[in-house]
C-alpha cells in the first residue's frame, strides 16, 4: 500500500525542535526517551548477539577448542544476562511502549515524564555496571544465579552482575508504574477501556508483572549478594539454608518475566494484523482480557522450572496443572489472530510478514511449552537443548519478531521516513528462515539428550549443532539488515506521510514525526478501536477538537 502523497516541507517536530546533546539528555519528552532507549538497547542487543555467535562457533565442533571452558561459561552467562535484562525486558515497552502509549491514549506525555527519564538513567547506570562487570572478568553462574554455586563456589564477579541486574530492575519497575498510571489517568475523553488499542492492553498486563514481580528478584539478588559477601546461610545448605528457596524466589519473577517479553509483542501483532487485513480484530475483548489472564496466571506457574530440582511431587502436580491454565489464554490469542484474517483484505507489507512469522514461531514455541509442563516429559528434556529451543522460540522467535514488526510498522511515525519495503520483506524472510534453521535442530538435540550449558559434547550431536550454527549466521544477517536500512532511511528514505498504512489509532492522526506535545489540541475519541470499515469506506476518522 504505502500510497504516500508527497508530504509537506519540514515541519517542526519532536526531533528538530531542539538540537544539542543537552536537549536529549535532559529531555522529558517520552518520544525522545524512547529513542534514547532504542539506542541503548540496540547496543546491548549487539553485545548479546556477539556472545551468541561465539557460543554457536564454539559448538561447531564437539571438542571445546575455540575458547576455554571458563570463558565459554562466562559467554553463555553474559549472553543470557545481557539479552534478558538489558535487551528483551526493556525492548518493546521502553521503546515502542514509551513512544506510543501516551499518543495512543491521547495524552501529551506519560504521567511522570521526569520519572521516565530517571528510569532511562537507572538503566544506563545498570548498563555501565554490567559493562564494567563484563570488562573486568565477567561472571560465570548462568543467568539464573543458582545457589550455592553463585554464593559460595564461583570465583567471578557475581556481586557486580547481581547489582547491575538489581539496579536495572528499578528501571523496569518505574516504566511499568508510569504506564499503569498513564493508562488509568491520562486517557483522552472518549477513550474508554473498550476502545483502547490492544497494544495498550498488553502493556497494561506487562506493567502489572513489572510492578509486582521485579521487586522479588531485586530482594533475591540482595540476598544472593549478602550471602556471597557475608556467608549468612540463607541459601547455603552447609549453613542450614535451602538452595531451592532461591529457585522459588528467582522463578517467581523470572517466569513472569517471560511474559514481560512476549506480551508487548502480542500487542504489536494485535495492531499489525487488523491493519493489514483491513478488519476489526476478531474477539477484541477476548484478546484484551487474555493479556490480563496471562499476566495473572503467569505468577502461578513458576515451579515448573523445578520439577526435577527436588521439590515435593505434590507441588509439582499443582504447578503442572496451573501451567496448562496459562497456556489457554495464549491459545485463545493465536486463534483470534488467525480468525481475524478470515474474509479480510490482506496486504503483505513487511510488518505483516513479521506478524505472520510471529504467529508461526509463537505457535511452535507455545506448543513445545506443553511438552515441558507435562511432568513425565520434563523429567527427560529439562535442562537440555529442548528447553533452549523452546524459550528461544518464545523470546527470540516471538518477542524479537514482534519487536521488529513493530519497528517497521511505526518507523514512519518515529523517524518520519519510509524504510525500503523490498529490503524489509527480504529481511523478514531471512530472519524467519535463519531462526528456524538455528533453533529447530535444538529441539531434536534436546530430546536426544544434549544438556544445556555444555562447552563440549559427544560427537553424535555434531550434525545438528552444525545446522544450528549455520542458521545462526543467517539469522545474524537478518538482524543486521534492518539495522542498516533503518539508518539508511533516516537520511535517504522518502518522507513519510502521517498515515502511510491507512491505519486506525490516534497515533496515525497526528503528523509524522509528531510534535513535542503530540496533539495540537486535546483529542476526543468518538470511534471504536480498529474501525477499518469506516476508514476504508471513506468515513475517515477525524480528530474532534473538544470545546
Amino acid at each position: 500500500m504505502a500510497t504516500a502523497t508527497v508530504p509537506q516541507i519540514e515541519r517542526e517536530n519532536y526531533l528538530n525542535k531542539e538540537y544539542g546533546i543537552g536537549s536529549w539528555l535532559l529531555t522529558t519528552d517520552h518520544k525522545r526517551i524512547a529513542l534514547l532507549y532504542l539506542i541503548s538497547i540496540t547496543f546491548f542487543f549487539f553485545i548479546g548477539g556477539f556472545y551468541a555467535l561465539l557460543i554457536r562457533l564454539e559448538l561447531l565442533t564437539p571438542a571445546g577448542d575455540l575458547v576455554q571452558a571458563d570463558t565459554y561459561n562466562k559467554i553463555f552467562t553474559m549472553h543470557g544476562q545481557v539479552m534478558v535484562f538489558f535487551f528483551l525486558i526493556p525492548s518493546i515497552p521502553a521503546v515502542l511502549g514509551n513512544f506510543l502509549i501516551p499518543i495512543m491514549v491521547g495524552a501529551k506525555d506519560l504521567a511522570f515524564p521526569r520519572i521516565n527519564l530517571l528510569s532511562w538513567y537507572i538503566y544506563i547506570v545498570a548498563g555501565i555496571l554490567m559493562m564494567h562487570c563484563m570488562l573486568t572478568g565477567g561472571v560465570d553462574t548462568g543467568w539464573t544465579f543458582y545457589t550455592p554455586f553463585s554464593t559460595a563456589f564461583s570465583n567471578t564477579k557475581v556481586i557486580e552482575a547481581g547489582l547491575a541486574i538489581f539496579v536495572s530492575g528499578f528501571s523496569s519497575i518505574l516504566t511499568g508504574l508510569n504506564f499503569v498510571v498513564t493508562i488509568h489517568r491520562m486517557r483522552a475523553p472518549g477513550m474508554t477501556w473498550s476502545r483502547l488499542p490492544l497494544f495498550v492492553w498488553s502493556h497494561y498486563a506487562t506493567s502489572i508483572i513489572q510492578i509486582l514481580g521485579t521487586p522479588v528478584i531485586a530482594i533475591t539478588l540482595v540476598l544472593v549478594v549478602a550471602e556471597r559477601a557475608l556467608h549468612l546461610g540463607i541459601f547455603d545448605p552447609r549453613l542450614g539454608g535451602d538452595p531451592l528457596l532461591f529457585q522459588h524466589l528467582f522463578w517467581f519473577y523470572s517466569h513472569p518475566a517471560v511474559y514481560i517479553m512476549i506480551l508487548p509483542s502480542m500487542g504489536v501483532v494485535s495492531e499489525i494484523i487488523p491493519c493489514f487485513s483491513r478488519k476489526r480484530i476478531f474477539g477484541y475483548s477476548f484478546v484484551a482480557l487474555s493479556s490480563i489472564a496471562i499476566a495473572v496466571f503467569g505468577f502461578l506457574v513458576w515451579a515448573h522450572h523445578m520439577f526435577v530440582a527436588g521439590i515435593s511431587v505434590y507441588a509439582a502436580l499443582v504447578f503442572s496443572i496451573l501451567s496448562y491454565a496459562v497456556a489457554v489464554p495464549s491459545a485463545v490469542k493465536v486463534f483470534n489472530w488467525t480468525a481475524t484474517l478470515y474474509k479480510g483484505s490482506i496486504h503483505y507489507d513487511a510488518p505483516m510478514l513479521y506478524a505472520f512469522g510471529f504467529v508461526g514461531l509463537f505457535t511452535i514455541g507455545g506448543l513445545t511449552g506443553l511438552f515441558l509442563s507435562a511432568l513425565g516429559i520434563d523429567m527427560h528434556v529439562h535442562d537440555t537443548y529442548f528447553v533452549i529451543a523452546h524459550f528461544h522460540y518464545i523470546m527470540v522467535g516471538g518477542a524479537l519478531m514482534g519487536y521488529l514488526g513493530g519497528m517497521h510498522f511505526w518507523w514512519p511515525k518515529i523517524s518520519g521516513k519510509l524504510y525500503p519495503e523490498g529490503w524489509a520483506r527480504l529481511a523478514a524472510l531471512v530472519v524467519f528462515l535463519g531462526f528456524n534453521l538455528t533453533f529447530f535442530p535444538q529441539f531434536i538435540l534436546g530430546y536426544l539428550g544434549m544438556p544445556r550449558r555444555y562447552h563440549q559434547y559427544p560427537p553424535e550431536f555434531q550434525v545438528l549443532n552444525v545446522l544450528s550454527t549455520a542458521g545462526a549466521s543467517v539469522l545474524a544477517v537478518g538482524y543486521l539488515m534492518p539495522m542498516i536500512y533503518f539508518l539508511w532511511s533516516m537520511r535517504y528514505g522518502k518522507p513519510a506521510p502521517n498515515n502511510p498504512w491507512n491505519a486506525a489509532g490516534l497515533e496515525w492522526t497526528i503528523q509524522s514525526p509528531p510534535t513535542t506535545f503530540n496533539f495540537p489540541e486535546q483529542p476526543v475519541v468518538t470511534w471504536e478501536a480498529y474501525n477499518y470499515d469506516e476508514i476504508d469506506t471513506g468515513h475517515k476518522q477525524e480528530v474532534q477538537v473538544a470545546g
Binding site: 561459561n73 543458582y146 550455592p148 545448605p237 483491513r278 490482506i346 506443553l370 535442562d383 530430546y447
Partner: protein, 332 residues
C-alpha cells in the same frame, strides 16, 4: 539407521517407552495444531489477499467460537497433564526391592557406591532387568543426574538426599550427563552407565569389593562411639536404632515423622533438629566429622538394622526408602 545423525535416543529402560509414548502423542497433537494454524494462515492469506474494490468483511467476533477454543484446548491440556503426572509418579516411586546405589556428586565427578560395596568413579555397572534405586547427594553445588537413554533426570543437591530409580532393559553403554550447570568442567562431568547381563554382572561384582556398604557403616558406627548411647536395649541415652528405618517416629514436640534416609542424615548432622520423644538433646553434631561417603555408609548401616526386624506392614508404607531390603544383606 542414522549412525552419525540420530533423531531419537535409544530406549534402554522400562521408563523410556512410557515417556516416548507421551512424547509421540504430543508431537502428533502439536503437529496437527501447527498444521491447522499454518494452513489457516496460508489459506486466508492467499484467499483473502487484497484486491482492488473488494473490501474486508467486518466480523466482530463470536462468543460460541471463543468458548469452543477455550474449552477444547483446556480439555486436551488436562489429558496431557494427567498422562504426564502418571509417568512422573512412576518415575518417582522406586520399587521396594530395588538394588541401592549411593551417588555422591562433586565438582566435577560422579562417585558411585553399590550397597554391596563396589565403588566406581564416573561409571556405573548395573545388571539388565533389575530395579536400581539411586540415593543421590552432592558435596558442593547442585548437579543433576541424567541418563537420556533411560529418560531419567534428578537434581543432586548438597545437604540432602534425592532419589531416582531405573530398570535397564537393554545391555550396552549409555551416557551419564550432569545437566545442572556446576562450574568450569560442567560439560566434563560425564560418565557412562554400563548395563550387563546378570552373569557378567555377577562376575564383575565378585572382582574386589571391600564388603557391603552397611558393614563399613557398622565399622564407622563403632569407631565414632555411636554404640555407647544407641544401644540395642532401651537403656541407652539415645534411642535404639533397631528397626527404626521406615517406621514412624514420635518426636519430643509431638510431631510424627517417618524415618527415611534424609531423617537419618539430619539426625547425624543436626541431632537437635528432631528429638525423639523421651530423649534429651545430648548428642553432639557430626557435621564436618564425617564425609559424604561415611554418611552414606552409616545410613546404609541403620537401614540394614531394619531388615531383620521383619517386613514392614503394607499399610504404613511410606516413601520409597521404606523397608527396602538391603541388597547387601541378601548377598551375605
Amino acid at each position: 539407521m542414522f549412525d552419525n545423525f540420530p533423531l531419537w535416543p535409544q530406549r534402554a529402560s522400562s521408563m523410556a517407552g512410557n515417556v516416548d509414548a507421551l512424547f509421540i502423542f504430543l508431537v502428533i497433537l502439536s503437529g496437527l495444531m501447527t498444521l491447522l494454524i499454518f494452513i489457516c494462515l496460508f489459506y486466508f492469506a492467499a484467499r483473502y489477499r487484497a484486491c482492488k474494490g473488494v473490501l474486508a468483511e467486518q466480523i466482530e467476533g463470536s462468543i460460541p467460537l471463543e468458548i469452543t477454543w477455550t474449552l477444547i484446548p483446556l480439555g486436551i491440556f488436562m489429558v496431557i497433564f494427567a498422562w504426564g503426572a502418571i509417568v512422573y509418579f512412576q518415575q518417582r516411586t522406586p520399587p521396594r526391592d530395588a538394588t541401592e546405589v549411593y551417588v555422591v556428586a562433586k565438582q566435577w565427578m560422579w562417585k558411585l557406591e553399590h550397597a554391596e560395596g563396589q565403588r566406581e568413579i564416573n561409571s556405573l555397572h548395573v545388571p539388565v532387568n533389575r530395579d536400581v534405586k539411586l540415593i543421590l547427594t552432592s558435596q558442593d553445588v547442585i548437579h543433576s543426574f541424567f541418563v537420556p537413554e533411560f529418560r531419567i533426570k534428578q537434581d543432586v543437591l548438597p545437604g540432602r538426599y534425592t532419589v531416582a530409580w531405573f530398570r535397564a532393559t537393554k545391555t550396552g553403554t549409555y551416557h551419564l550427563f550432569c545437566t545442572q550447570y556446576c562450574g568450569t568442567q560442567h560439560s566434563g562431568m560425564i560418565g557412562s552407565i554400563i548395563v550387563m547381563e546378570p552373569a557378567q554382572y555377577e562376575a564383575w561384582m565378585s572382582g574386589g569389593a571391600g564388603g557391603p556398604l552397611s558393614a563399613s557403616g557398622e565399622k564407622i558406627f563403632a569407631e565414632l562411639g555411636c554404640a555407647t548411647c544407641h544401644r540395642n536395649d532401651t537403656q541407652g541415652r539415645g534411642p535404639s536404632l533397631q528397626g527404626v528405618f521406615g517406621k514412624p517416629v514420635l518426636l519430643e514436640d509431638g510431631r510424627m515423622i517417618t524415618a527415611d534416609e534424609n531423617y537419618i542424615r539430619e539426625s547425624i548432622l543436626d541431632p537437635g533438629a528432631k528429638i525423639v520423644k523421651g530423649f534429651r538433646p545430648v548428642m553432639p553434631t557430626f557435621q564436618g566429622l564425617v564425609s559424604e561417603e561415611q554418611l552414606n555408609a552409616l545410613v546404609a548401616y541403620v537401614k540394614s538394622l531394619s531388615v531383620y526386624s521383619g517386613a514392614p506392614a503394607k499399610n504404613t508404607a511410606s516413601n520409597a526408602p521404606q523397608g527396602a531390603p538391603d541388597q547387601g544383606s541378601q548377598v551375605q
